[in-house]
Symmetry: D2
Subunit: 273 residues, 4 copies
Amino acid sequence: MSEFNFKNNIIHYEVYGEGKPLIILNGIMMTTKSWEIFKTAFSKNNKLILVDFLDQGASCRMTESYTQKDQVEVLRELYNELGIDKASLCGISYGGEVAIQFAIKYGDLVDKLVLSNTAGRTSPWLRDIGNAWNAAGENENCGQQYYLTAIPVIYSPKFYEDRLDWMKNREKILVPYFNDKTVMATIKRLVISAENYNEVNNLEKITAKTLVISCDEDYLTPMKEQNILKSKIPNSQLVIIPEVGHASMYEKPELWATLVLGFVNLDCNIKLI
Amino acid sequence: MSEFNFKNNIIHYEVYGEGKPLIILNGIMMTTKSWEIFKTAFSKNNKLILVDFLDQGASCRMTESYTQKDQVEVLRELYNELGIDKASLCGISYGGEVAIQFAIKYGDLVDKLVLSNTAGRTSPWLRDIGNAWNAAGENENCGQQYYLTAIPVIYSPKFYEDRLDWMKNREKILVPYFNDKTVMATIKRLVISAENYNEVNNLEKITAKTLVISCDEDYLTPMKEQNILKSKIPNSQLVIIPEVGHASMYEKPELWATLVLGFVNLDCNIKLI
Amino acid sequence: MSEFNFKNNIIHYEVYGEGKPLIILNGIMMTTKSWEIFKTAFSKNNKLILVDFLDQGASCRMTESYTQKDQVEVLRELYNELGIDKASLCGISYGGEVAIQFAIKYGDLVDKLVLSNTAGRTSPWLRDIGNAWNAAGENENCGQQYYLTAIPVIYSPKFYEDRLDWMKNREKILVPYFNDKTVMATIKRLVISAENYNEVNNLEKITAKTLVISCDEDYLTPMKEQNILKSKIPNSQLVIIPEVGHASMYEKPELWATLVLGFVNLDCNIKLI
Amino acid sequence: MSEFNFKNNIIHYEVYGEGKPLIILNGIMMTTKSWEIFKTAFSKNNKLILVDFLDQGASCRMTESYTQKDQVEVLRELYNELGIDKASLCGISYGGEVAIQFAIKYGDLVDKLVLSNTAGRTSPWLRDIGNAWNAAGENENCGQQYYLTAIPVIYSPKFYEDRLDWMKNREKILVPYFNDKTVMATIKRLVISAENYNEVNNLEKITAKTLVISCDEDYLTPMKEQNILKSKIPNSQLVIIPEVGHASMYEKPELWATLVLGFVNLDCNIKLI
């Protein structure tokens, strides 16, 4: 457990293992703790770095508004803190959006880039879904309502049903968590920090080899968004995980690890001759 | 404008044109008024019948709980009222669910069956999405919140963006509508009336020629649900409208009319020989 | 059974029924006889016009080379012969390609346009598939070989298996047909007449309301080609028939008729207001 | 370069690198030489084993007929020759079919299983496509014809066009190769050896962790076949490579290597808790 200071804000991060560095960037309601089941696999041949963004997990609670651009600078500072000059980035959803902006601004610092369930912009449609979440978080004791509004849609209908026990347990944990006003305030700020995100016209500047992971039952960042990433990012590859929703790393953890580690650790160019 | 009495409840219906009868069954938040732009086309060669279910439009507000099975009996009574012994049914979403249950119970009364954006059951996942809607309708002045929770997800992201003006106008109309406590109470009861719906194991009893319309950006009743309908309903056909969401009749009105009228009015058997 | 003279070549055509005229344009190995099972349905409310292109069916055998542009003029002459100044066109595959070129050149003569299993150009890949067919037709008694090379791939694997008896009967009819050198020569010329077809950059000139029918197991003119048609033809709609191959009108005859007749005979504009 | 004797037939194989053994199984027209561009990457952390089946590459030309069951025994003997008691298998197309049959019979010898562009059976449709290939190989100097019949359809239309120079070079190499009667005889026997393959009902016996790679423009073993593999093989995962055809390892070599190596070398169980 380590931390550093970013503009007077504490940033929490964790490092495991040795090897080519791989930084995992959280989705909006995730924290470093969300990656527990992946830690062994991801630190076996890599230096795995987990980090809580501003307003996430063990990092500081913010008092002022901010945008994803600030999270990009948090990530830049993390490089300094770790003393590394190149790392692979793997972001999911919100984390993928930060990864995109980082790769555009600090291309030299990015080895490989993995974008899972990520869009190149917050569309008007997605913005209003974010607004629905924030509206659900307005009232006292809104934990149950917030859960129902934001969580089922993150999973594919099949997973939700097949793993109903797991989901119900999740509900038991998340409802009191969402009932906590301080927590809810952080989630709302995180949602707001992404609402004007739009890097579609800058995607062509990304130089890193990029893997785009798309899921055909992702109802928050649908496959079309990843098709845009694939078509605009010059050196990119696209794979589709069928019958899986937005939270792909939980619905298919081994397959997700296969894709991320397989891509990050392949260090040959393989080309037709 | 006509009405009849169903167990002391007023049921509103409308009839236009002459020809083979075609009854259109509303989605959950729709009314007979929702079909305005289709009336000319649908009544040109058909007797078009529109109807408000219990708790919809100009039909009665309920005081007791009910299920979709009651809506099936409303529809049965409508046949009596109209003095018809066979009609084609076209239902979208909630209306398609009622149509399925009607076609299972009263197969002899159904000519052709069109199921647009319809599922064979309310899955646990969809049930919790319904619960989220109902939770969003709990508070005072919840119109804006309800709009954000229930409406954007009904449309494909592309339509929502391309027709943002239309959507924003829709929001202006719907927010005060949802703010009305009486209205909100009807919507909630309608949601509840569908929550235990499951006819997957009875689909094979449907004898009517059936057209299943599926949309590949339908995030409420995803394509998988229509694949189930197609595979279980013996005499069924499946078409997919690409890049369209749950409210397909508004996103692609002419194409939707093409499918419905083309299917209902084809009165030949065409088979390979 | 009627015919007219096109530059000293006999063109065979057939007319059935009365109503808005609808001209069906054959795929490459089809003739007016191929539409037998559709005649009743298509002539019920329409004047149905079937026609054999140059080198097809009961029309003349050619001695000189020609292109699809000549077939366009055959079609133009058919309008004269029939004394009609507007008709809907429905073409499948080769017939759809001719329909596209006609709609670009003679837009005023086209009411509605239906393009089933059609591409906007002959890609290098498709050209070499055509070359494989022509190579298979080179040898003496090549009927069996030609059948195997050109026919199974026209159908979806599922249809081929489900209707194996029908396919085997088809094989019995087609092998001697393909063994006929005169017939084979016509097919080869037809293939060659399409090999330089490319109207992708002219698709935007089509003014007719257009329905594009795409099939997700069409391995000759895959869905991507119809996506191009949809994106370039201004007033176009796209539907997908799932689990169906290139010969969609035989795999799903009723659904195919539903789409064509539904589209051609809808004569209202239906727009969101 | 090594070889061993299988029932008086020479089997050629090659071994590169050290680590967990990974045996690559060729598609029908491939040889150990086909994997040249992958050798560095695949032997970096693994003992890579390439092998020519009966009638392939530097292995013997057969004089008697055989089936894929014999290729399974060749593979079994290769284990003996190498003195290994467990290896991961990665097969593409024909090689995947042999891998499936091996994994059913010799489950204890299989570590991980990768099935790329593979079906669980030779359907009647695919059998007739094989028959078309064999018919194309009947005549003298059939190289050009065989190329046109069997090769373009192996690639996606987009790849064929984007890499037209590479394809034309391929044609230059393959036409004389296919003109060689001895070679053509081997290919025909290989096609025949697969024609009665059907293990759909035995797929449930596979115990190895399995990755199924499916490509959405694979027109020989379409996605449906991989859906069957996924649904029947108990411990299997499915990924889709979009816009790619049957020869996926050439169309997207780095992505293909990512998937294979990522899957084979992940040696943790990662499960939701």
